[in-house]
């Protein structure tokens, strides 16, 4: 009996530091925000409590199984409940302890974390809007110098790595074309919404996961304390590409962030200029191929054959090989360009008018009409798209 208890204590003592000191592959990743740190602490504390309860109960059971068995000649007792008041009180003790654990030991820090997590507004220095779409994230800066900066963040892992067993890069599935850039040590209020289905914006090192719900705004907050690149994923099932919409956040010092904002604004003005100029067919085709690979090929496939019936082929498609504007220059309903701009209700084909620029839409439509053996050919100019939006 005595040895048994020593054993039990030894196991508990051995397990506690294992949990506390476990390197971050066995536990939450290293926290980067006050919220994640708080979450990690609460989690560690709860894990220790539950492991102690588990080991204690397991110990009692194992002891009973070892001693109270027929093969060692143990005679069964016949009690069916506490026999007297003293025993009754002893029986109630474990439940007293449990109530204390539930509502005091765990309940109070947990409630504290809730208040911390939900306080998105106090002292917030910056507002960021995150929009989830199948299957990419769109970021928009809502105030300060960065106000108006708006871009889409797509997975860049090449299709060969996904489907053809090519050697995988270090950040396989967790790499994007446009990282979200934010300053460190600033409280950032994050507003979330979605354009199609429910998504969930999750970066484990931030301790933040919140649904992005179409038609509604949800909010959370970040305050990243260390520079670095942080990676996460969508964690609400959102269709075929659910595994392919990573979140990548680069946290940089204030100065660097300001420089980034300036550069990004210049880029935006160039982009605006590009929308008004006349593009050559080659330019459109090059740009179109890029957009197609990034956005369209997930469903319609690199060769334009699609995955019918859910994702129709573009090669030889009636829609792609049909006209886009009628005699009076109006957009034809359900034409190729209409589908790209406005999507098709009830399917995974979404409206791209809010996530792609005029130039990108013109380029990709031109590309699709001149590729995969499609015969319609022709060129769509960004200015034309702007007029038809």
């Amino acid at each position: 009996m005595n040895r048994m208890w020593k054993c039990l204590v030894a196991i508990i003592v051995a397990m506690v530091p294992a949990v506390v000191l476990a390197d971050y592959t066995w536990n939450f990743p290293e926290p980067a925000t006050p919220l994640a740190l708080d979450t990690l602490n609460v989690h560690n504390k709860f894990m220790i409590i539950t492991i102690v309860i588990f080991v204690a109960v397991l110990g009692i059971m194992l002891y009973s199984m070892a001693v109270h068995r027929k093969s060692v000649g143990h005679k069964p007792a016949d009690f069916t409940g506490p026999k007297n008041r003293k025993q009754l009180i002893w029986t109630l003790v474990p439940f007293g302890i449990l109530l204390y654990i539930d509502f005091i030991l765990m309940g109070i820090p947990a409630a504290h974390s809730i208040f911390m997590m939900e306080d998105t507004k106090t002292n917030a220095q910056m507002v960021l809007k995150v929009t989830g779409s199948q299957w990419k994230w769109q970021y928009e800066y809502m105030d300060g110098d960065a106000q108006g900066i708006k871009f889409v963040s797509n997975l860049t892992t090449p299709q060969e790595q996904l489907y053809q067993g090519a050697p995988k890069g270090e950040n396989y599935l967790l790499e994007v074309d446009n990282e979200l850039v934010v300053p460190t040590n600033k409280k950032i209020r994050v507003l979330l919404t979605a354009t199609d289905v429910i998504h969930n914006w999750w970066v484990p090192q931030f301790g933040v996961a919140r649904d992005a719900i179409p038609g509604f705004l949800r909010e959370t907050w970040l305050q990243i304390e260390k520079e670095g690149t942080y990676r996460g994923q969508c964690k609400e099932l959102c269709g075929r590409g659910h595994g392919y919409m990573p979140v990548v956040v680069r946290a940089v010092p204030e100065e660097e962030f300001k420089a980034w904002v300036v550069a990004k604004k210049e880029e935006a003005s160039k982009l605006a200029a590009s929308a008004t100029k006349e593009w050559s067919k080659d330019e459109l085709m090059t740009q179109g191929a890029e957009v197609y690979t990034k956005i369209c090929s997930v469903c319609h496939q690199a060769n334009g054959q699609g995955l019918p019936p859910a994702f129709p082929a573009l090669a030889g498609s009636k829609v792609v090989n049909g006209p886009v504007v009628d005699a009076s220059g109006k957009l034809i309903k359900d034409s190729h360009l209409d589908r790209v701009l406005n999507g098709k209700a009830g399917t995974a084909m979404q409206a791209f008018k809010n996530t792609l620029s005029d130039a990108e839409i013109a380029a990709v439509v031109t590309y699709e009409r001149n590729s995969f053996g499609n015969t319609i050919g022709g060129v769509i100019q960004p200015t034309q798209v702007a007029g038809l939006r």
């Binding site: 066995w26 536990n27 939450f28 990743p29 979450t39 989690h43 539950t50 309860i53 588990f54 009692i60 059971m61 009973s64 199984m65 109270h68 068995r69 027929k70 005679k75 069964p76 007792a77 016949d78 069916t80 409940g81 029986t91 474990p94 439940f95 449990l98 539930d102 509502f103 765990m106 309940g107 409630a111 974390s113 809730i114 997590m117 939900e118 996904l162 489907y163 396989y172 599935l173 199609d196 289905v197 429910i198 996961a209 649904d211 719900i213 179409p214 996460g232 994923q233 969508c234 964690k235 099932l237 269709g239 075929r240 590409g241 659910h242 595994g243 392919y244 019936p309 859910a310 399917t347």
Partner: protein, 534 residues
């Protein structure tokens, strides 16, 4: 009610006159036949559900897409859950109820025998309807099975193909079947107990099932409402869950989980009912704390309908709601702890032997304990942001629903199989099945706790490289777990066909309760006249 009224028609209750062959099973109103069909249906669907998920695990063995494209992957995960919950676990519990409740409470049959037949025969078509789109898809026809997860959240489920419509129809049928089964159980328990069997003398299994039945009757209609609203959103232009038309996608989550959380207890309460019977039998010591267990079952059933929103804390809700749902969820741990306490106190200072049902029952307590304790930490809202929809949650609910559900059912099967068939199963194979199951189960799901904490979301067909090792282990464990179940199937089938030695009436040395007073197997019509309980 009186003994006389039931015995009055006084035919030869041991003779079995009626149709034979297929017609016997198609038209039977006998509780034992129907129970057998439920259990067989459950076992077949368990194997189907298992093979669905093994193909998923095979895909997840290595990063990259090798054998299953993402759109098929999304169908497999959702259908695995729907099959396991609605077509494997729930029918297993109903099968036990049919077989054992009348025997245990000394009733000649279930109260509503024709309803009983209908309740069962809705299930095979429902299972077919659920799986047919997937099968057609594999042959290149149609848009595939339900691919929005078993929770069918709109707007995703609103944009999917007709697999969703089939799933809705199947859920309706299975829901109707469950509600009919539940009404039958309630009526049987309340009206057909043997004379002298007061409610506080009911077998614990009957109490567990009574609570399940009330929960089913209360919550299945809510699910039915929610999925009907989804159906009209999809096809008839309503906007219940479409924000663009003034609806709210989160409304569906509230309705779904108002059913979905009690569903967990619907699956587990019958098992919590018969586990004490197994423990008292093999510890040769009377059940500890009967009244405390009964009131805990009642408490758990009541609490289970007021905690639903903890399934979507990350969807965002007011602080007050977060606090309320966190504390109410935590409070379930109290009645559950009472049950654990009583189970362990039942074996304490007993005289235990470790036949297969006892091994499964003890394994159930330990592993389900892990499920329960991780459930306690999941109630913590802030940490839940990390756990939620990660593999941590997947591991958690498999510790509750596989270790707590399936392993509990297996304990029940081994416990009652000799009574049902009149033959002993192979103890050697049973023990091999137990140890292989326990080891491979932990090999499968323990790594999922860690990969979840490390940040792997659930329901993704492909994953980042840092999750590889855990997934490799998990897949190996899953295949071992799947193959081990074939031992179980072989053992049950050979026993059913009468291979083992003859079982005595009592079967087990320590068995107590009315069912053990009948012969093994019991006569086709039993307890007519009813026994009298002193």
């Amino acid at each position: 009610m009186s003994t006389g009224s039931i015995a009055a028609h006084g035919h030869d209750d041991h003779a079995h006159h009626g149709p034979t062959g297929l017609a016997r099973w198609l038209f039977t109103t006998n509780h034992k036949d129907i129970g057998t069909m439920y259990l067989m249906f459950s076992m077949i669907m368990f194997l189907i559900g298992g093979s669905l998920i093994l193909s998923v695990r095979a895909e997840l063995f290595q990063p990259g897409i090798q054998i299953i494209q993402p759109e098929l992957f999304n169908q497999l995960i959702g259908l695995h859950a729907l099959v396991m919950i609605f077509a494997a676990l729930m029918p297993a519990a109903t099968g036990f109820a049919n077989w054992m409740l009348p025997l245990q409470i000394g009733a000649p049959d279930m109260a509503l025998p024709r309803l009983n037949n209908w309740g069962f025969w809705l299930l095979p078509p429902a299972g077919t309807i659920l799986l047919m789109p997937l099968v057609l898809y594999l042959f290149g026809i149609g848009t595939g099975g339900a691919d929005a997860g078993w929770t069918l959240y709109p707007p995703l489920s609103a944009q999917s193909g007709w697999g969703i419509d089939f799933a809705i129809l199947a859920l309706h049928l299975m829901g109707i079947s469950s509600v009919m089964g539940s009404i039958n159980v309630v009526v049987t328990i309340l009206n057909m107990r043997a004379p002298g069997m007061t409610m506080m003398k009911l077998p614990m299994f009957a109490w567990g099932w009574l609570m399940t039945a009330f929960l089913l009757i209360a919550t299945i209609p809510v699910l039915a409402g929610a999925i009907t609203m989804l159906l009209t959103d999809r096809h008839f232009g309503t906007h219940f869950f479409d924000a663009a038309g003034g609806g709210d996608p989160i409304l569906f989550q509230h309705l779904f989980w108002f059913f979905g959380h009690p569903e967990v207890y619907i699956l587990l309460l019958p098992i919590w009912g018969f586990i004490p019977h197994i423990l008292e039998t093999f510890a040769r010591k009377p059940m500890y704390g009967y009244k405390a267990q009964v009131w805990s079952l009642v408490c758990i059933a009541a609490l289970s309908v007021i905690v639903w929103a903890h399934h979507f804390f990350t969807a965002g809700m007011p602080v007050q709601a977060l606090i309320y749902f966190m504390y109410s969820t935590m409070s379930i741990s109290v009645p559950l702890a009472v049950l654990f306490f009583c189970w362990i106190a039942t074996i304490w200072r007993g005289s235990m032997t470790f036949e297969t049902p006892m091994l499964f029952a003890l394994g159930f307590i330990i592993l389900f304990g892990i499920g329960g304790l991780t459930g306690l930490v999941l109630a913590d809202v802030a940490a839940d942001a990390q756990y939620h929809h990660s593999y941590f949650v997947v591991a958690h609910f498999h510790y509750t629903l596989f270790a707590g559900g399936i392993m509990g059912v297996m304990a029940g099967v081994y416990y009652w199989l000799p009574k049902m068939t009149g033959h002993m199963y192979s103890e050697k194979l049973g023990k091999a099945h137990f140890w292989l199951t326990v080891i491979s189960f932990n090999l499968t799901f323990m790594p999922q706790f860690f990969v979840g904490l490390a940040g792997m979301p659930r329901r993704i067909p492909d994953y980042a490289l840092q999750f590889t090792e855990f997934n490799v282990i998990s897949t190996i464990g899953a295949f071992a777990l799947g193959l081990s179940q074939l031992i179980f199937v072989y053992n049950v089938v050979t026993t059913w066909r009468g291979k083992g030695e003859k079982a005595t009436d009592g079967v087990w040395e320590g068995s107590k309760g009315l069912e053990w007073q009948l012969s093994s197997p019991p006569p086709h019509h039993s307890w007519d006249p009813q026994p009298v309980i002193k």
